[in-house]
């Protein structure tokens, strides 16, 4: 990888790593008695290792001029592998905490292994580790193809990817040591947040520089979605994480906001993280990989634009539906509910557009598990956005909120939509990126598909049941007008569903492991040795016009 950098880039890399090592040292010294110091040491070690790497490759010949005749894909390859590793880590921890809710003593008598510290490792691991790496990797791939421009340099994509993964590692190790802001999905502390801002700005600048090199005036719609993901996540991240650290040398900080304002800011962030991290970015993925794999253009390009603005606009108002019947003023709750319900329109337009794209390619969906991953993703996208709008209605929310129904809803989206479209996109790109004819085994892709689908269905059904039962038990009165069930009664009723959920999660995890093996074997086998199957034959350029146009 150092060999791919120009001399000039190698020098800049060394300077960056030197600065990082110095900052790491200062952190380690300042935070001797604090997890902050541990992270400082980690940063320092990573930077020094990186310096060794750069120095050892420093005198390698510069990359040839003809590199400019091809896209720069090495970072995408790295990102995809990183995404798969994080998938296994994040899902493993997720399934572990799922078992802990059924058998709370399946743990070590150690602080790091308790539910509250492991849970954010799971959520950050899958959202930021798995999802984030997949988004960055595919966005690099897609932005170059759709603009027909190579990235402007070789260093900044690596800075973005490696820097982002450093953020993920700091986040996950921090949780295990008890470093957290407690803001859901924004747990990392102030120094990790600052680092992410630096990485993110570089990402944005890289994207814009590539767009500026394009030849076509029109920017393909996938890029709109990726750009919205980058921009809005930056905005959300900065505002929600405004905080005052207690001192240099301490990991701890206090949020600038308190009480109601803090709650509204947090769920404005939280809900829009769902919108712009888990929806917008992955729609960008969908709008490139699905047409490509199905060999058909998007059913209606116009609709993809209309739903883009709809999603960008509506989501912003919807966050307050997380706070129905709380101390948040009622008008804010009503506003949130209204916009959440309207959100269904652009969401279903997107899902419908995706499914209509497959019209005329259903035989491929039947034969090709990769395309089927994408198709099922679109179906779950439609289902979970409907469910989301439904749950945002105040009376429904009075039952569903605080229960496992929410957890089920989130996983219908996370497993059914986000993970499925990601696996589809990854299986499509691996042969393209590594120049293989097909995945090592189409059968294993098939196996992964069924494991993932079965896992999702079991998970979601278990949580629907437990959530609704829970919600009903908490509000049931007996004839004498008093509450019928104690909290413990509801706890006992949950047990079988918690076991079922953990089994569903296990299936999903197994699928991801199978996927890792398949990808590994694809990369290992020499290009010519790859067996060709109908399902994975590379796309031929046949242009078809969609009836929707």
């Amino acid at each position: 990888m150092v060999a791919q950098l120009t001399k000039n880039e190698r020098q800049i890399a060394l300077v960056i790593l030197l600065v990082m090592a110095a900052v790491g040292l200062a952190m380690a010294a300042g935070g001797r008695n604090d997890p902050f110091g541990v992270h400082g040491a980690l940063v320092m070690v990573v930077a020094i290792l990186g310096m060794f790497g750069v120095i050892s490759g420093y005198y390698a010949p510069e990359p040839p001029e003809d590199r400019l005749d091809s896209y720069y894909d090495a970072p995408s390859k790295f990102g995809i592998i990183a995404a798969m590793i994080w998938a296994v880590i994040g899902m493993f921890v997720g399934d572990w905490v799922a078992w802990l809710l059924a058998y709370p003593d399946w743990t070590f008598d150690a602080a790091w292994a308790s539910f509250g510290r492991l849970r954010p490792v799971h959520t950050s691991g899958v959202i930021f580790g798995f999802g984030g790496n997949a988004l960055i990797a595919t966005s690099f791939y897609v932005m170059q193809r759709t603009t027909r421009a190579r990235m402007p340099d070789q260093l900044s994509p690596w800075f973005v990817l490696l820097g982002y993964n450093l953020f993920c590692v700091i986040a996950a190790t921090g949780y295990l040591m008890g470093v957290t802001q407690s803001k859901e999905y924004a747990e990392p502390e102030w120094y990790a947040d600052i680092w992410l801002v630096i990485v993110w700005v570089t990402y944005f600048v890289l994207y814009m520089r590539t767009l500026a090199r394009r030849k076509e005036p029109h920017i393909y719609v996938s890029n709109w979605y990726y750009l919205a993901f980058i921009l809005v996540v930056a905005m959300l991240h900065i505002v929600n994480n405004l905080a005052v650290p207690i001192a240099w040398g301490s990991a701890k900080s206090y949020s600038l906001f308190a009480g109601v304002q803090d709650a509204m800011t947090e769920w404005w962030y939280g809900h829009n993280a769902v919108a712009f991290f888990l929806t917008s970015g992955f729609l960008g993925m969908l709008y490139y990989y699905m047409p490509k794999r199905a060999q058909r253009p998007i059913y209606s390009y116009r609709m993809s634009i209309i739903s883009f603005w709809g999603i960008t606009f509506f989501y912003m108002w919807a966050g307050s539906h997380h706070l129905h019947y709380t101390a948040l003023p009622q008008w804010v709750q009503s506003l949130g509910m209204t916009f959440s319900v309207m959100l269904l329109i652009p969401s279903w337009v997107s899902a419908g557009n995706a499914l209509m794209t497959l019209n005329g390619a259903w035989h491929r969906v039947r034969d090709d598990a990769v395309l089927r991953f994408m198709m099922v993703a679109a179906v779950f996208y439609g289902l979970s956005t409907f469910e989301g709008s439904f749950m945002a209605i105040r009376p429904v929310n009075s039952l569903s909120h605080y229960t496992d129904w929410t957890v089920g809803h989130v996983h219908a989206g996370a497993l059914g939509w986000v993970a499925m479209i990601t696996f589809g996109a990854i299986y499509a790109s691996v042969p393209w990126l590594w120049k293989r004819q097909a995945m090592y085994s189409a059968k294993l892709v098939e196996a992964h598909f069924w494991l993932a689908l079965a896992g999702t269905v079991i998970y979601v059904f278990a949580m629907w049941n437990s959530g609704i039962i829970q919600g009903l038990m908490w509000r049931t009165y007996n004839e004498s007008g008093t509450l019928a069930y104690s909290f413990t009664d509801s706890l006992i009723a949950m047990h079988p569903y918690y076991v079922a959920r953990a089994i569903g999660g296990l299936l999903f995890l197994l699928g991801a492991v199978v996927g890792c093996y398949n990808i590994w074997m694809t990369i290992r086998t020499a290009p010519s040795a790859a067996p060709e199957t109908a399902a994975d034959r590379p796309v031929l350029g046949g242009a078809v016009l969609q009836p929707g146009e």
Binding site: N33, L100, P104, D105, T107, D109, A110, A111, S114, F115, G116, R117, R119, P120, G178, T180, E184, M208, L211, A212, P217, I219, W224, L227, A228, L231, V232, A243, V244, P245, I246, A247, S250, Y254, A258, G259, V260, Q261, D262, A263, W268, F276, T312, F313, M316, W317, S320, Y325, A327, L328, V332, L335, S398, H401, Y402, T406, R475, L483, F487, T488
Partner: protein
Amino acid sequence: MFGFHYRLERKAIGLVLAIIGVASIGGIVEIAPLFTIHQTVEDAPDMRVYTPLELAGRNIYIREGCYACHSQMIRTLRDEVERYGPYSLAVESKYDHPMLWGSKRTGPDIARLGGKYSDDWHVAHLNNPRDVVPESVMPAYRFLSRAELRTDDLSNHLKAQRRVGVPYSDDMIANAAADAYGQAAPDSPQAEGVAKRYGKATNIRAFDGKPKDLTEMDALVAYLQILGRLTDAAYKPMASAEK
């Protein structure tokens, strides 16, 4: 050639600005009025700040991720009020940086936990919830009793809290470590200062049963025992409704 590229870039930047505009206006319009909310919400003159020990306990609550299973926000629904107590008011969390309203009740809401159980109950429960509630799925937190509480940086904590708007006095900041010790050691000379600075109603007890050492268990139990007790505001509308 230059003109063509200039146009292209303008287009990309236009798209960026449009996204930022469309995406930010909703949030701003919706959140901005909340910062003037104090004009409408009833004030709670009796509201007190967390003592250093309670604040340390709150930070342990955050560190251990208790908020992932417990909410601290009783909604305005009949069954919630009957199960957990008077519904939560905005003013009750006005010093909570960050708020801990929570989003999931794997365990019960604990917004009104203060005074519900004895200190001993909490210590036993945290050491192993299944000793007290056999069906519980809450993790055991045995290590809290073994861990000595860190107090050397408590002044910094209070200072940072003051910077974000919590009214800690210089006196409170200067004596933070001593107050933390004193609150869990009722017979020590430091105990007196706690009552002086934070009010007579402050709980000053050996929370974990061992007045000599100051553990994380002391801090966490001190925090749990003050939940919902920083002000009486929430209990008043109830009382007046009964009349």
